[in-house]
């Protein structure tokens, strides 16, 4: 066992009613690393995370979480991992203080009152500690959930789409908090489908339809696909986009309001196509860096988009 790894799982596989939801997924997360787990809805992120923390038994595959076997030692994993569920899962008919007290009791914490008081102070919620959790806004609920799963001082955080439905400012604060935690040596595995959040992770994995399609730093993932991207600016971009989509040599087009990202695997051929198509129009083209978002959309297309099913 490598003590450098907070998570080390290999070949995780899980099926629900004969549908394979996770297919031989292997992941390694180093200690103190923020690991982004990306993929569209229903791609198997939640199922994979649940297998890592012992909430689901994998059909196949093995692995460890903080050195504990995910099949046999799920009780030890539960004690030292903080898991934040995708759906807010604290008790809305209890107050903030009551929720935190409950969690502290569950983990049998020595100085419970103090830990709860500190967590409430850290949250900046001292004045609202006796407010019912159900009356909190989405951003506050998310902060409370993070505080609650940090209460027992876990060494590893498993966060399942923690920023879904949270406004951009709160999301930025949340990510800053995650980096503070990582700097204290806490490992974080965070799933998301926001592409901009991918850039904030040390390492990334991209899962689609249960298959792990990419794994590494964002630079590695971008380089591995060998895509060249051009940006087209001008009018009538949606018509152009539709046309380019059908053209051989263009891998994908992504429309961003006033600009169109066009990617392809053969640089000179792509440039030729673009020059030809935009000649005589008001459109301007310029070479651009391929972003992680372009790569993920490319991965999704090349692996066939299937009907989305909710996780």
């Amino acid at each position: 066992m490598n003590s450098e790894l907070a998570i080390d799982v290999r070949g995780l596989t899980k099926s629900f009613s004969h549908k394979r939801v996770v297919n031989h997924v292997s992941l390694q997360v180093r200690r103190g690393e923020i690991f982004g787990f990306l993929g569209p809805n229903g791609s198997g992120k939640t199922t994979t995370i649940r297998m890592m923390c012992g909430l689901l038994r994998p059909d196949e595959g093995t692995g460890t979480c903080l050195g504990f076997d995910i099949r046999r030692e799920s009780d030890d994993i539960k004690r030292s991992v903080g898991y934040m569920t995708q759906k807010f899962s604290y008790w809305e008919d209890l107050t903030i203080r009551e929720n935190l007290s409950f969690v502290a009791r569950m983990y049998h914490m020595a100085d419970r009152d103090r830990a709860v008081a500190d967590a409430i102070a850290d949250l900046g919620l001292s004045e609202r500690a006796d407010q019912l959790v159900g009356t909190l806004s989405g951003g506050w609920k998310q902060r409370l959930a993070l505080a609650a799963c940090l209460l027992h001082e876990p060494k590893l955080l498993l966060l399942d789409e923690p920023t879904a439905g949270v406004d951009p400012a709160a999301r930025r604060d949340f990510w800053e908090e995650l980096h503070r935690l990582a700097s204290r040596g806490i490992s974080v595995l965070v799933s998301t489908h926001y592409m901009d959040e991918a850039e904030r992770c040390h390492k990334l994995a991209y899962i689609f339809n249960g298959n792990l399609l990419a794994n590494g730093t964002s630079e590695e993932i971008i380089a591995a696909q060998g895509l060249t991207t051009w940006i087209v600016r001008g009018r009538n971009l949606s018509a152009l986009s539709a046309k380019l989509e059908q053209t051989d040599g263009v891998s994908q087009t992504v429309l961003f309001g006033t600009s169109l990202h066009v990617s392809g695997t053969d640089p000179s051929r792509l440039e030729g196509i673009l020059r030809r198509e935009t000649a005589g129009t008001e459109c301007v083209i310029e070479g651009a860096e391929t972003t992680i978002e372009d790569v993920f959309i490319f991965l999704m297309h090349t692996n066939g988009i299937q009907t989305e099913t909710s996780a």
């Binding site: 649940r50 923390c53 012992g54 909430l55 689901l56 038994r57 009780d75 539960k78 004690r79 898991y83 569920t85 759906k87 807010f88 899962s89 604290y90 008790w91 809305e92 969690v103 569950m106 983990y107």
Partner: protein, 380 residues
């Protein structure tokens, strides 16, 4: 003005279609739509009979003669009484009555025939377990006609001098445990079991499915807490609530309905505790099967209906056909009803309650096995 415009009607229709589509997907509701009427029909149509017949009757005969034999035969032919046999002494007759083994004891005193032949109009004593007045009422009414029948059969020829307008003997009915045939005395203690059944099952059923429905179950499962700890933690508050409810019902039945308490309060609470525990197990079982609070409520209702109808609470148990009695005997409420009536009205103690206690314990054990079998430790 038309209540619905053309567009309005089309919208209404689309609501109707949507409603049916959703009903079709919701299997449990669909099953209820079909099953509830069938169940009610069978139970009301076949199982329930408010004119119970063939009730177990014991004899205490100190005078064997042609005439007393005719009297016993006549009782049997009335279809109301099933003669189970003769008791050795009054003591064992009283115990059988208390335990509910027999509903009636027919006591023919010594010298009955001689006294009858002398025209002294002796008394035939019928002791009835009248805790449930509706069960015994019609049978006791039939007793009054026995004299007439016996007269026609045996008292002819030389004995026809006894064949006067008044019956040759008097059937003296002794309504035990509830001498005034007060239906409150039967219904009110019975209600305790009904209320506890409903509240306990519903509350535990919902308590666990609520966690699942709101998504907090996943959080609980992710914490280092064992299923046993979760289940026990869920049960304990409701045991206390159940005991509180039992006390309220008991107090109210005493104060408002003047129901007496002949047995010991300790026995009553111990028995109630066992019964509450059995119902909580049903609640836990339902909550490990149900996926939502609505399903838990539907399952509770499914379980509750036969309890109300077949436990002897609403209709006399002995009025039901044998198959329905078998079903009734599986339900904890049936046994609790008997025990509570025994304690409250007959003053029964632990020793005579055991025959009703072990079926509840057995039921509880089976429910526990099912609950543990279906409790999901993981989210699989």
């Amino acid at each position: 003005m038309m209540p619905f415009s053309r567009a309005g009607f089309s919208r209404l229709w689309s609501m109707v279609i949507k409603e049916f589509l959703q009903l079709k997907r919701d299997r449990l509701t669909f099953a209820m739509i079909v099953m509830i009427p069938v169940m009610q029909l069978i139970l009301f149509g076949y199982a329930i009979n408010s004119d119970p017949k063939h009730m177990p009757t014991g004899l205490l005969v100190s005078d064997h003669s042609e005439i007393t034999r005719t009297i016993i035969q006549t009782l049997e032919h009335s279809d109301y009484f099933d003669i189970k046999g003769e008791f050795a002494d009054e003591e064992s007759a009283r115990r059988a009555l208390e335990q509910g083994d027999v509903q009636f004891v027919v006591n023919i005193p010594a010298g009955f025939t001689r006294s009858l032949l002398r025209g002294e109009r002796p008394a035939l004593l019928i002791e009835a377990d009248a805790t449930d007045p509706t069960a015994t009422g019609l049978a006791l009414a039939a007793v009054s006609q026995i004299g007439e029948y016996v007269m026609r059969k045996d008292l002819h020829g030389p004995l026809s001098y006894l064949n006067s307008a008044a019956p040759p003997f008097e059937a003296r009915v002794h309504r035990m445990y509830n001498p005034e045939s007060n239906t409150h005395y039967n219904i009110v203690p019975g209600l305790m079991g009904v209320i506890l059944t409903m509240m306990m099952i519903l509350m535990t059923g919902l308590a666990i499915t609520r966690e699942r429905e709101r998504g907090t179950m996943e959080n609980l499962l992710a914490m280092p807490v064992t299923p046993l700890e979760v289940l026990t933690g869920k049960i304990v508050p409701y045991i206390l609530i159940g005991l509180l409810q039992a006390s309220i019902i008991l107090g109210a039945s005493h104060l408002l309905f003047r129901v007496p308490l002949f047995g010991s309060l300790v026995t009553l609470y111990v028995v109630s505790l066992v019964f509450i525990a059995a119902n909580l197990m049903v609640g836990i079982t339902i909550s490990s099967l149900a996926r939502s609070q609505l399903q838990a409520m539907q399952m509770t209702f499914f379980f509750f209906l036969p309890n109300i109808l077949l436990s002897g609470f609403m209709f006399p148990f002995r009025g039901m056909p044998v198959w329905a009695q078998h079903i009734g005997n599986l339900l904890p409420l049936t046994h609790f009803n008997r025990m509570i009536r025994g304690i409250v009205l007959k003053g029964s103690g632990f020793s005579s309650l055991w025959p009703e206690t072990w079926p509840i314990l057995l039921f509880m054990a089976v429910m526990m096995l099912i609950a543990v079998r279906f409790y999901r430790r993981t989210l699989d």
